[in-house]
């Protein structure tokens, strides 16, 4: 899908108008952003906004996140264990210390 984020009042208004005029193209609306269908029409609208408002319009192409393919087993297992932890107040760094779960600093440095 196309994620369109606006960074100025006029760009925000233009996106709002676009969403109102073409509801069928819009998957989801947020404050000053919207997720558009992956169609050429949505791309046309996104490029038009970018032509008009320059860097005040950010367009990202998104894809569903498949954690099984995108992430190491150990990371997924750590996420599951952390979600299931007994004390909700424990930060992950402390939770992972002394276990086989990946280190928080390593996670932050490793690109997907």
């Amino acid at each position: 899908m196309l994620l369109v984020i606006t960074y100025s009042q006029p760009a925000r208004q233009a996106l709002r108008n676009l969403c109102n005029a073409h509801e069928e193209t819009v998957v989801r609306r947020f404050g000053r952003a919207a997720l558009l269908d992956p169609t050429e029409f949505a791309a046309f609208q996104a490029v038009r906004l970018r032509e008009q408002y320059g860097r005040a319009v950010q367009v990202e192409r998104t894809r569903p996140f498949d954690e099984v393919q995108a992430v190491r087993d150990s990371v997924r297992e750590a996420a599951g264990a952390y979600a299931d932890r007994d004390s909700p107040g424990t930060p992950y760094a402390k939770f992972a210390a002394g276990t086989d779960h990946p280190d928080q600093a390593d996670l932050k440095e490793t690109e997907l």
């Binding site: 960074y7 000053r32 860097r55």
Partner: protein, 285 residues
Amino acid sequence: MIVRVGDRAFEGGAVDLAAVGSSLDPRAVATAVREGRARRDGTVVTVEARETGALHERVGCVTPTATLQPRTALAVAARSRGWTTPVDDDLARARERLDDVDLGDTADATGVEARRTLARAEDEVARLRERVAEARGRVQARRDQDANTADDADAALTDAVRALSEVETAAAAAREERRAARAEARAVRDRLADRLALEDEVANLERRARAHLVDRARDAYESALSSVPELDGPADPFDAPPDAAALAVARVGDLAAPVVVACGRFDTACAATRWLDAPAIRLDP
């Protein structure tokens, strides 16, 4: 003030133009008050008077059909009397910070150019890779036939490999340019986001300032409204007919420039001037 309509001149704090003829457009006269001169349907109106301010923009032309936001106008009237609010300092600082936001280059020309250059370079890379593969195939074929005639084919392969290496370098440079353009766009967006937050802050403070001023001026406004001629007191003072609300706001505020009164509530320009405590030009509604 001195008002001239065509070749007739009028002078004083209260000018009655009702006698001049009903064809005169009150808005044209108000424009003449603001800009010194206006022309409508071939008639030139000029006004020499004190300069207008923000309040005149709101209530300087009183007609039964004028649109008016009574609360906003009342806040402007309160300002014209020099009233301040507890958020004024914060508001001034927020406005200053907003003015100081340096966005940098908000157009994305470098990004567009980088993306186009990269696309061209990548097309070239693909084309030359095919050429290299073909040249390699020909070299192999010649070798299979006769090892001695492979020189031309070898030279063609060497050329193709060199050309490919050049465009691959160009593509890498274009990719780097695209990365730099993205980083720059991200920095610009940080500043744009800061500006949006400041705009929200200013709007929020303006609302609070306006609420404060309206609150303070409300009694004066209601009392002015209750003395507007030919008016049955409305249930909600901010729902009064626009000409009555404009008159009440004008009376609350401090107006040095003449108010154009074309509402039929005053029989003479002097009556309007006395009621408003401001210079007035009276016209037929």
